[in-house]
């Protein structure tokens, strides 16, 4: 059995930032375990720019952003094992992993950071009639084909779902000479960032069809076309609105799911909405010494926020290892009236710093107010010109305000339109 103070599961931006932050805070023995061949996570295939504006004040591509953290890691004595798959995180913080060189590895850790990222919702999550012909794939898979393998998966494309990866791929495929016919979105609003609609669709004249879905796929060996239809308020296809669109490729960009098999197997309860573990203000899960950050905790749209969150987790893990972390009675957070969820789900009453509450709204709101309350009393409010589900928001609770709240109190966050 190996011994480490901190074991980080996953070497994407989340894992790297958490490891570095823990190091900065005096933790000596740290190891990062990554199942892929290289560090960097999903950023390796995100070759477009837009990463790092908040964190580095520069517009970087995914690999450049990841590259900066890899460089910083190289400058430390943090151990890294790539091609290493973590199989289990047990109650006593024993991490089991496997790779070709060492075989089965057992590592006793004082603290563990879960940073496994997320994956895309596959086709099975949708109910589209039609045979299993080739040419249907998630947008992320297509992104890997084009950007890593240098291979064009199709020439006439329909994209279902207006998540950011789908939007980015609409532009990418167009630049490479494909005809992207349309992006269909089930909801009456896009799930992606506005800037991506502008520079990935509008710039190239690609139509975005809202309240529209794919009801059937056609083709035997290779996809030949899809049938699209408008949907009503209950998101059901409206008979008579069907339309045939010829295409050889259907890309799905219908959402991301945190990769939490490990967390579930280790007995962690997942939040119904985020599908990630429930955490406190330092991103400590319900298991002592097990932290979570990045897309495994909640799906982020900006890697800059992933980094910020992971630094919080790294700092929390460092405090835990040094026996300095506050753990005790809590106050609890809850999103209501338009606010879908809040991370963190609980805050230690005697916490040692201000706490940012991150959340997403369930619909588009203009000129709205975010209101934070406890026991019917307003603690905080913040005006927003625009709120949309595609963008994560936050409010900051002062440590002094938290201290004044009764123990076990419930803090609610809601939108007033």
């Amino acid at each position: 059995m190996l011994n480490y103070d901190l074991v980080v599961v996953g070497g994407g931006p989340a894992g790297m930032a958490a490891a570095l932050k823990a190091k900065e805070n005096g933790i000596d023995s740290i190891i990062v375990l990554e199942r892929a061949e290289t560090l960097g996570g999903i950023l390796e295939q995100c070759i477009h720019t837009g990463f790092g504006l908040h964190y580095f004040g520069e517009e970087l591509s995914g690999p450049e952003y990841a590259g900066r953290f890899m460089k910083m890691l190289e400058g430390t004595d943090i151990d890294v094992k790539v091609d290493t798959m973590v199989l289990d995180v047990a109650d006593d913080n024993v991490v089991t992993a496997v790779n070709k060189k060492d075989g089965l590895l057992k590592i006793q850790a004082k603290a563990v950071v879960l940073a496994m990222g997320c994956r895309e919702r596959p086709r099975g999550a949708l109910s589209i009639a039609g045979s299993r012909c080739s040419g249907i794939m998630t947008a992320g898979t297509a992104q890997k084909y084009v950007n890593i393998d240098g291979y064009m998966p199709g020439h006439e494309v329909v994209i279902l779902g207006s998540g950011d990866i789908g939007l980015i791929m609409a532009r990418r495929m167009t630049l490479e000479g494909a005809k992207v016919k349309m992006v269909c979105e089930l909801m009456p609003y896009s799930g992606g960032l506005t800037r991506n609609i502008v520079q990935c669709l509008d710039d190239f004249g690609i139509p975005l069809k809202l309240s529209c879905t794919v009801v059937a796929t056609h083709g035997k060996d290779r996809l030949e076309g899809v049938t699209i239809a408008k949907v009503d308020e209950r998101l059901q296809p409206i008979p008579g609105t069907e339309e045939y669109v010829s295409c050889d490729t259907l890309m799905l960009s219908v959402g991301l799911i945190p990769e939490n098999e490990l967390s579930k197997n280790s007995g962690l309860q997942l939040d119904n909405i985020t599908n990630g573990p429930r955490v406190d203000e330092y991103r400590e899960t319900e298991h002592a010494g097990v932290f979570a950050c990045g897309n495994v905790l909640q799906v982020h749209d900006l890697v800059d926020y992933v980094t910020e969150e992971s630094q919080i987790a790294g700092l929390g893990a460092a405090k835990f290892i040094k026996g300095e972390k506050v753990t005790g009675e809590c106050v609890y957070t809850k999103g209501i009236n338009g606010v879908r969820y809040i991370v963190p789900q609980r805050i230690n009453h005697d916490t040692d710093a201000d706490v940012k509450l991150y959340f997403r709204v369930g619909a588009v709101f203009n000129n709205a107010k975010i209101i934070v309350e406890c026991d019917g009393k307003e603690i905080l409010s913040k005006k927003k010109v625009k709120l949309c589900p595609g963008e994560m928001e936050y409010v900051t609770l002062k440590q002094s305000v938290i201290k004044e709240l009764p123990v076990n109190a419930e803090i609610t966050v809601r939108v007033e339109a």
């Binding site: 390796e44 070759i47 477009h48 720019t49 837009g50 504006l53 908040h54 517009e59 970087l60 591509s61 690999p63 450049e64 590259g67 084009v146 950007n147 890593i148 393998d149 240098g150 291979y151 990418r172 630049l175 490479e176 000479g177 960032l193 506005t194 800037r195 609609i197 502008v198 520079q199 710039d203 749209d301 900006l302 010109v385 625009k386």
Partner: protein, 120 residues
């Protein structure tokens, strides 16, 4: 001239920006941006719109098939497809480093195409 409603694409926040013009058609006011970059973006967007171009270039003699590249600075929006043609005809020899210039001064724009990842 009418006002122009834009969405700033200079960073992922996507601030809504309104540009007003004076009688001569020059920019009079820019509102809605929350930082200086937004002001600069709106000014170029209504005069000479530009975009960052990101794509890949073929790699020869290495393990990687392609290496990601970007324009070192934004290029005129209308020239993106032409630049793509040039880039798709080019290739680089492994190893490639982040920041290596892959194509100098593409189509006379004064902008270099540079590698954004390692390739060996």
């Amino acid at each position: 001239m009418e006002n122009r409603e834009l969405v700033c694409v200079a960073c992922p926040l996507g601030c809504p920006i309104t540009v007003t013009f004076d009688a001569d058609g020059n920019v009079a006011t820019i509102t809605g941006n929350t930082c200086k970059r937004g002001d600069a973006y709106a000014r170029t967007e209504v005069t000479n719109p530009t975009r960052m171009l990101t794509t890949t270039v073929k790699v020869e003699g290495g393990k990687s098939y392609v290496v990601p590249v970007k324009s070192a600075n934004p290029i005129p929006k209308g020239m993106m497809m032409e630049c793509m043609k040039v880039i798709n005809e080019a290739s680089v020899k492994a190893p490639v480093n982040i920041g290596d210039v892959v194509i100098e001064n593409i189509l006379g724009t004064g902008v270099d195409i540079i590698a954004t990842n390692y390739a060996d």
